[in-house]
Structures are given as structure tokens and as C-alpha cells.
């Protein structure tokens, strides 16, 4: 069967769709702008590789990869692993913040209760004096 699009266009369109989705997510405030760097970078790479597939052949030859498409798969898996690791680093950072916030709330709650308790007799004393 004859293919509708060339490989070149397929990857380029995938790259453009990824970039479009990223911009839409940022526009709707669903994706934090800091998180967009990675995905925009990936989208740009996919578009470039789509339009200029010869690049991957040349890089593959330079790196001694006999069958260049394997290089794309290897690089993709590498990028995904780096991304997952960075997500776990971010999660650890958030876990630290969450733990410290939880601790701070418990401490502040106690200080607030103590302040309220010490304020109550003072206020009662003040009210008593006003009545007199």
C-alpha cells in the first residue's frame, strides 16, 4: 500500500502537535511554565529530526551506530529516564517542603492555642474591671 505521508512529515507533524499541546496547557494554566522547557525542547528536536532525517543518519555514522533509527530509540529512552529522574528529584524537594510545612503548622497551632489561652484570662480580667 502506498503511504499518505513521508516519514519526514509524520515526525515533523508529531513534533508540531507536541509543541501545540504544550502551549495550550500553559495558556490554560494547567502546566507550570517552568515545566515547559523540557517538552518544548523535545518538540523542537522532533520537528528538526522530522524535516532533516539525514541529520540522524550523519550523527549515527559519527557515533558508530550501523542502523541510525536505533540511535533515535536509544536517545528517546535516555531522555525519558532523565525526565523521570528529574521528576523524582522534584518530588523529593516537594516532600521536604510538605514535611516542613506540616511541622510548622503543628508548631504554630500550638503557639496560637497558647496565646488564646493566655489572652482569655486577661480579657476576662479586663471585662471584670470594666463592670466594676
Amino acid at each position: 500500500m502506498r503511504s499518505l505521508l513521508s516519514y519526514q512529515w509524520t515526525t515533523a507533524i508529531i513534533g508540531l502537535i507536541i509543541a501545540l499541546i504544550i502551549f495550550l496547557l500553559i495558556r490554560r494554566d494547567i502546566l507550570h511554565i517552568k515545566r515547559s522547557f523540557w517538552w518544548i525542547g523535545i518538540a523542537i528536536l522532533v520537528v528538526i529530526m522530522g524535516f532533516f532525517p539525514v541529520l540522524i543518519d550523519k550523527i549515527g555514522i559519527l557515533l558508530g551506530v550501523n542502523y541510525p533509527p536505533v540511535l533515535i530509540l536509544t536517545l528517546s529512552i535516555g531522555f525519558i529516564l532523565v525526565k523521570i529522574l528529574s521528576m523524582d528529584l522534584e518530588r523529593s524537594h516537594q516532600e521536604r517542603i510538605l514535611r516542613r510545612l506540616t511541622q510548622k503548622i503543628a508548631i504554630l497551632e500550638n503557639l496560637l492555642e497558647s496565646a488564646k489561652a493566655s489572652e482569655k484570662p486577661n480579657r476576662e480580667n479586663h471585662d471584670h474591671k470594666r463592670h466594676l
Binding site: E95, R99, T102, Q103, I105, A106, I107, E109, N110
Partner: protein, 237 residues
């Protein structure tokens, strides 16, 4: 020691069967301020502690024994205490041994004192202790004892952000103290059997396996640091 303010910290998670009695016994023994850190319990732990005269810090989310202990240390620093003693809520630690824990801090021999009872625990636990002693190079017999006393420098270090992601209060805390140049001393104390419930850390074989693997990773990741520390010490000598 003149001018010292000390508090007893008790991290507690669903310990309403024993925590009230533990607080009462500590307060009867000496004029200690007792702070119970209620680790998001679903029972009457907070109410029982308040009824027994303790100050209670209620965590909204369960942070585990070390997260609760760190909350207590941060609160103690906020309130101007310069020494804290940590005790379990299950009644294993006798309040009468508190002075023995505080003595080396007062004499300036140590920044942290562990109330140790190597006689307790199963053979498997002792094997794990020996294994981690070998891995870490820590000359401490009872690595998991929660009966401890901390000086002000130790409190300040352990209240910091770098101690927040520790999962357990034993090996990670000890390594952090040692690598920061603080001194640890161990004193032998008697311990009672647990009054009720079971160990939260060693509650099931799965938890034991998780504990062993996590601590093994922690030890291996600190090996390089320790070597660097030793070589640096060598240069100083």
C-alpha cells in the same frame, strides 16, 4: 546544669493505651516539660496526652517517628529549650534513666547520648545491628534505640532542612551527627517490655525488608563521604 531548659519529646502514633501513663510517670519523676507529637493519630492519643499534662503538637499528616521527633525539636528550639530527651510512647523507656542520659551532655562529653539496651531484641535484629555497625563504622551497640538525649548543637543540626528527608531516626541521624563533627555517647539503661501494640518500624517482614534495604542504600551512599572525611582527617593529622 544551671540555665539549662530541657523537655521530653514523645512521638506518638495511635498510642492512647499507654501514652497517658508514660507522660504521668515522667512528670512524677522530675519537673520535665513533656511534649507529645501526635503523628496524625486516629485514636485518642492527643486527648490522653493533654489530660496527663503534656503539651501536644498535632500533625495534620503522618510523618513517621523521625518527622514527628523533628517537629518536637523545632518546637523546643522555638520555645528556648537547650536539651531534649526523646522517649517512645509505649512505655519501654524508664524515666528514672533520664539523669544518666543527661549527665554526659552536662559534662560536655557528648552532643547526643543514646540510652542503650543491647539485651533486648531478637537474634535477627542483633544481626542487623552488627551488619550496619560494620557498614557505617559506628561503634554503637543499640542503633535503633529511641531513648536519646540531644544537646543544643545537635538539636540545631537535626532541626535543619538537611535532616528533614531522613526516613528513620537511627542510622541516618547518627551519620549526620558524626559527619558534622558532633559526638555520640552510649549509656546502658534498663528497658521494659512494650506495654501494648507492636513495633511500628518492624511491624511486618515487609517493613523489616524495606528498613534493611533503605538503610543499606543510605550506608553505601555515605561510604564515599566517610572515606573523604577520613582522608581529610588524615591530612589534618
Amino acid at each position: 546544669m544551671k540555665g539549662s531548659r530541657q523537655a521530653v519529646l514523645i512521638p506518638a502514633w495511635n498510642e492512647d493505651a499507654t501514652v497517658g501513663d508514660v507522660v504521668r510517670r515522667i512528670r512524677e519523676f522530675g519537673s520535665f516539660d513533656v511534649i507529645v507529637i501526635d503523628d496524625a493519630s486516629t485514636d485518642q492519643t492527643a486527648a490522653c496526652s493533654i489530660a496527663s499534662g503534656a503539651t501536644v503538637l498535632s500533625l495534620a499528616v503522618n510523618l513517621g517517628a523521625w518527622g514527628a521527633t523533628q517537629t518536637g525539636i523545632r518546637f523546643a528550639l522555638e520555645k528556648g529549650y537547650n536539651r531534649v530527651i526523646t522517649m517512645d510512647a509505649d512505655g519501654q523507656h524508664p524515666p528514672s534513666a533520664i539523669p544518666e542520659l543527661l549527665a554526659p551532655l552536662g559534662d560536655g562529653y557528648a552532643d547526643m547520648v543514646i540510652g542503650s539496651c543491647p539485651g533486648r531484641g531478637s537474634q535477627a535484629r542483633k544481626m542487623a545491628w552488627r551488619f550496619f555497625q560494620g557498614m557505617t563504622g559506628l561503634d554503637i551497640e543499640d542503633l535503633t534505640s529511641g531513648f536519646r538525649a540531644y544537646s543544643l548543637p545537635a538539636m540545631e543540626l537535626l532541626a535543619s532542612r538537611k535532616a528533614t528527608l531522613l526516613e528513620y531516626q537511627d542510622i541516618g541521624v547518627l551519620l549526620l551527627l558524626i559527619h558534622s563533627g558532633l559526638r555520640i555517647k552510649e549509656v546502658q539503661v534498663p528497658m521494659h517490655p512494650r506495654q501494648s501494640g507492636s513495633s511500628k518500624v518492624f511491624g511486618s517482614w515487609l517493613k523489616v525488608a524495606e528498613y534493611l534495604v533503605l538503610n543499606l542504600i543510605l550506608c553505601i551512599s555515605h561510604l564515599a563521604k566517610e572515606r573523604r572525611g577520613l582522608s581529610h582527617a588524615g591530612e589534618l593529622l
